[in-house]
Symmetry: C2
Subunit: 771 residues, 2 copies
């Protein structure tokens, strides 16, 4: 856990330059706009530890799979988020000395991410080896108003000299992925051009043949006037184009480079139009100029914050944490493009590859349900519907048949990318999360018709998978599910993972309900689906009912425990408090077999089931299991603390709920798991939002009504959040005095506050008693 960032309600602030933190800061201070994004790399050179990374949404590369020992059914490739052309770079040289904070002395270094306006800025003074000293101020953003525009204001002031200075201002597609499996370069040059002030490079990805055109245009001003140059050279190299400008800088006088980037991809433009369109975008950016672009960008952010801000009074660290999470989620996925999804690192790093995990359904979906128009969440479901055929093919590769669907663990286009057998083939509970998300969406929105249009087909595919994946145990006289990996990936290839068995049976039941609903709603459409999916209603339904009736679940009835898997009680049952600090995190300190044999739990597993399906269990059951499993949980997945925070809140464990909240909210800011340098944990950030709304706020949907059961952590004066719900906007504010609910827009409605019905009318705040 690190603690070098300054607390602030709206900003992330780093003061002083410590190279050891640079890669962490590059992740944390990342900026993006849903269409592109980048790590907070320096514009000028930096020869120290850095991961230079820019990313363009939807542009990926199918890197050749690297495994030690191939297994049948492994995917041929691993789709990677691609490190995209770098449009931010500015080399600065003074008397043949490159400005490079690994080689110059830095003073008064300050890096600030202003979350309210989405602006990254940086100031410092640098002393070159020969003693010359310059002051640098840079500001940068990826425009939320114009998805293809980025802008930089880069200012340099000589502090103790006057001399010739050279700027090399460029765009560079000669970039590599740090995690390329075979050190391959993934980009090939298609075209480049450079003239005075402007340069464009079009590069193409190998195999996938995406084109990305990156244009730059720059303007240099001194004292508010166009600067005059000594010399200007056009520079072109393989995949690289730019200008080299030499000019005289005077002591104490500021020179400002305005650099505009236009980043266009063939996902959004015909390839043959890319160059012309790039010039248009550059012309537009240039015409508006930096200040106007920033103003438009900040206006979009202001609107976003109105929609989804959560305020916390009396606890700056908590406030900063939640805003950071909302900020990152918002700039990662806007919901406007249904081809996109939410990558685990967003635009902040390369690790994990792929873009879509079960994180989307289990964690992100409720965030977008609560903070965006209904269609955003619906698009996330339709994304999976469109991948159904691939999921069926994926299951076929593993030996399943008759339309059984296994959704991939990791994917870009519906095909599986992951290649560890214990995950790829066995972590099949992901299928359950995808089914459950349909239910979650319908419960929140009331849009049951989704079942007719898309939902049922997906549910049938998934249910068929479960029905084939279990087998009859003559020994137990029950159905069992062998050889799975649950959400707790610190157990592999176990039998009868309680969570997987539970979500599987839940899926079968929900599919039966869905069949009934569609039959009632639109019998003709059901016939179509039956035909399309060759659904043998009679036979399959009776098979599913038999499985529902005779499924085995590992339990310890004496203690009221659901057992994580068969044999769990044979382990040495320790608590996390028994671990020495030098053994943590265990995934960095212990061999894999030791982790597997131990009782320690990476993330909610049995508890994930109790969280998803709480209506099936009594509060006592939830408590018994929470009290048993939580002390064994090391929370080494970013997806873990939020579920525990919500369950703690439900159980009235207020301090625990608060502690887990802080851990999820500040996971990256405090580098809790010692891995933020690889990128931020974007998907789990949705869990932070859930910790506040479903945790502290106790928000649920019961019988179509919004329900709250709020409490106020004692460290806080108040908190508030805002929900979009069935064409209404509700604001909830919880203070020491009680809970204030306000219908900001939409028709009058009833909500449940604990067990009381509260009637809301537009614009009228309702105060309920102290909780």
């Amino acid at each position: 856990m690190k603690n070098y960032l300054k607390p602030h309600e709206w900003q992330i602030i780093e003061e002083g330059f410590d190279p050891h933190y640079n890669k962490i800061s590059e992740s944390v201070f990342s900026i993006g706009n849903g269409r592109m994004g980048q790590r907070a790399n320096f514009e000028e050179d930096y020869s120290g530890e850095t991961l230079r990374g820019s990313y363009v949404a939807g542009v990926y590369y199918p890197d050749k799979t690297r495994v030690g020992w191939w297994k049948n059914g492994y995917p041929e490739y691993f789709a990677k988020v691609l490190n995209a052309p770098n449009w931010i770079g500015i080399h600065v040289s003074v008397d043949n000395q490159r400005l490079d904070l690994a080689k110059c002395k830095a003073e008064n270094f300050k890096r600030v991410l202003d979350m309210r306006t989405g602006l990254l800025s940086r100031t410092f003074a640098a002393t070159f080896p020969d003693g010359k000293k310059v002051k640098i101020e840079s500001k940068r953003f990826c425009s939320m108003a114009h998805g293809e525009i980025g802008a930089i204001r880069y200012s340099i002031t000589p502090l103790n000299f006057s001399s010739k200075v050279t700027f090399s201002i460029y765009t560079d597609a000669d970039v590599v992925n740090e995690d390329a499996n075979f050190d391959e370069k993934f980009w090939e040059e298609v075209y480049k051009e450079a003239s005075e002030g402007r340069a464009v490079v079009t590069a193409q990805t190998k195999k996938t043949l995406f084109h990305v055109t990156t244009g730059i245009h720059y303007v240099i001003e001194t004292g508010g006037q166009r600067a005059s140059f000594d010399r200007i050279n056009v520079e072109k190299r393989e995949k690289y184009a730019g200008n080299v400008v030499q000019m005289d800088l005077k002591e104490g006088k500021e020179t400002v480079i305005y650099k505009y980037g236009a980043i266009l991809s063939s996902e959004n433009h015909p390839k043959e139009q890319l160059l012309a369109d790039c010039h248009k975008v550059l012309d537009e950016a240039l015409a508006k100029g930096f200040d106007k672009l920033l103003e438009e960008h900040a206006r979009v952010w202001a609107h976003k914050w109105e929609e989804c801000d959560i305020t916390i009074e009396g606890d700056v660290a908590a406030q900063q944490g939640i805003r950071f999470n909302i900020f990152q989620l918002t700039q990662t996925y806007t919901g406007e493009d249904e081809r996109l999804n939410i990558g685990p690192k967003g635009f902040t790093g390369e690790k994990y590859g792929g873009s879509t995990y079960w994180d989307t359904e289990a964690y992100c979906l409720p965030f977008y349900l609560g903070t965006a128009e209904q269609k955003v969440a619906r698009n996330l479901l339709v994304y999976r519907y469109k991948h159904l055929q691939k999921a069926i093919e994926n299951a076929q590769k593993l030996g399943f048949s008759n339309g059984a669907a296994l959704y991939p663990m990791v994917t870009m286009n519906g095909e599986e990318c992951h290649n560890e057998w214990e995950i790829t083939f066995e972590e099949i509970h992901r299928n359950g999360a995808i089914a459950h998300a349909i239910c979650d969406y319908i419960r929140y929105t009331g849009d049951e018709h989704y079942l007719v249009e898309y939902g049922l087909e997906v549910l049938i595919g998934i249910s068929r998978f479960w029905a084939q994946r279990i087998n009859w145990s003559s020994h137990k006289n029950k159905y069992v599910m062998l050889g799975v990996t649950g959400p707790n990936e610190y157990e592999n290839n176990v039998n009868n993972n309680w969570y997987t068995n539970t979500i599987a049976i839940w899926t079968l039941k929900y599919t039966l309900e869905a069949v009934d609903y569609v039959r009632k709603d639109n019998a003709a459409h059901l016939e179509e689906i039956v035909k399309k999916t060759s659904f043998d209603e009679g036979k399959e339904i009776s098979q599913w009912k038999d499985i529902i009736e005779k499924m085995y679940f590992p339990e310890d009835p004496k203690r009221g425990l659901f057992l994580q898997q068969d044999g769990f009680l044979d382990k040495e049952l320790l608590n996390v408090t028994d671990l020495k600090s030098e053994d943590r995190p265990i995934n960095q300190k212990w061999s894999w077999d030791r982790i597997l044999r131990s009782c320690f739990i990476k993330q909610a597993d049995v508890l994930q089931g109790l969280y998803f399906l709480e209506e099936q269990y009594t509060i006592e059951q939830i408590r018994e299991n929470f009290d048993f499993y939580e002390p064994m949980t090391v929370h080494e997945s970013s997806l873990s603390p939020c579920v525990h925070s919500i369950l703690s809140a439900k159980l009235g464990y207020k301090q625990k709920a608060y502690d887990f909240y802080l851990r999820t909210a500040r996971l990256d800011l405090d580098d809790y798991n010692n891995d933020t340098e690889d990128g931020c944990h974007i998907t789990s950030m949705a869990g932070t939002w859930l910790s506040v709304t479903k945790g502290f706020g106790g928000m649920r949907v019961k019988d179509g009504k919004l329900y709250f059961n709020p409490f106020l952590p004692e460290q806080w004066k108040s908190y508030s959040f805002r929900l979009e719900f069935r064409e209404r906007v509700i604001k909830v504010r919880v203070t020491k005095d009680g809970t204030e609910t306000l219908l900001e827009s939409g028709d009058p409605m009833d909500i449940l506050l604990k067990d009381e019905i509260v009637h809301l009318e537009n614009g009228k705040a309702v105060m309920a008693n102290r909780t």
Copy 2:
């Protein structure tokens, strides 16, 4: 299963050239001499499917590990048997057409491996695209008499033309490993020279810095006289040296190239001496000439066959099979160099890397015990003793302490090379095989003193590992062993693998016996060991006794079954006969999860324990378990059929014993598992020998006496084998009339034939009644 090789008692014969079989034949017809060896590649070019491979014993490369997802404790590298410089090559060109059987038409192709003399020969006629036709005869061997010499007689006769022909005769170190993880080249040139008739290249391996010097010298004769050349050019390229010779060939007249290779490594020569020593070896080879070298080579083979031949009358396929196995084993490992071990592919391919698996202890050791001087088997044990410190370090990497030793799954120098967590960290029964081999060796040789010198230290290290690897289950009130992979690698990360639990407890018991023995034999030495190993006798011994007493074994007492692991009975229990033929082999047809969930067994697991420790079990127990597990066994490991053959013989399942014997004996000749093209299954070949001696012959050692319980498969007229046993040589011949035993050398002795004592005196054959 293929059937293209001709049956013959002493030869392997391929008639007609089928490119589809070429890589299989390259493996099967491999030749070697314990110090080097090579696949049966053509001397001339071949642009079709081929794996050109020459190998030098002990010369390896630590290839960078390739994994998808790194786990703590994985080794940094994977030691590979290295494809070594090619000394056999001869390019042949007629009028600018290269002789290449992928481009020329082949007739009367015949490849023969004469096992009696260790000679590989090949004859064919080839027609070039322009119609010119030549006859080629080649003979080649790696001298068993001179470990660093190889020789080739390559004859060419123009059949329908007279013309200029060019020979390019070379040595080439620019070779690659087919299985290089990152397509890297492992050899660098150190030195090369070439003059008329001779060329030498010294190459060095990266990282390991082995030097291998490969010299060649050739003589060309026409009509028995030195041929005259048109032109001769010295040729040198990167890592390559040779001569290009142009000469006139006359229709119908034979020209013969005698090519001698000298292959020297820095394992056996100071680096600075390699060049001079290479010239000496070449001079010696040249002075002797091909015929004399072959005669000396054949003489060694004749002697070897006297020592270890097994004859089978009345079944050519069976006879060819056993001789092929003995031939390959003998040319792979001679036991002369204690630094070496028996690689799973010997000198016949690259796959698997490393040189030492538990195969050595479990399968090969008894072969060398029975067919070679005692010191050969002892060297194999001492090899592990020398790796004890590395085994302790290996265990430390996984979190064990206090001198616990985990021997690697695969190794070259004592360090682990394997990198699949389910094998590397979990297939720990290998440790048991290494302990058991000590017992096996002592039982056979009576050399109990080995415990004092080496054995006990190894046993203490292994026992400590077991004591730390188990844990107490409060649930079962027993010790359990979680998270292991048994010999049946079609189960991963299971709990309480019966075999592993059994061999672990056996080790603890045997270690206690060994401590007692050493105490009695040499109390002072025990004190030394106690000190050296910090052995806390009182505490550790009482802990071990507690574990022995309270260990849990999964069983089904009703059916008298030992259960392969916890939960085994929850599987769908099918027989191999229930599988469709298109599903086999399942490891090539099924996804890994499907294999894991199924009941199908790769190789003996419970049965491996019953085989190793048969004295602990009744014949009824063995029968119950064999009858249960054998029908589920797919034998997709080459190590499987032999154990089943021996157990079948023991149980009186004669036809099964014979069937399994044929499958193990002809595994590579018939390409049973469809993988012989990668190389032959060398270590399992020892199992074939065991199938005859311990299976059909019923050979055991009981109370220090050789014991036999022979039967004759009804397909055979007779079989015979020969054993070295405690400074005696005994020949056993089993016919329809009975069993003839003969003490060929050594002091008089008693043996047990079934339950009768038979007294043997030197040179007097004893006939016992019909079995």
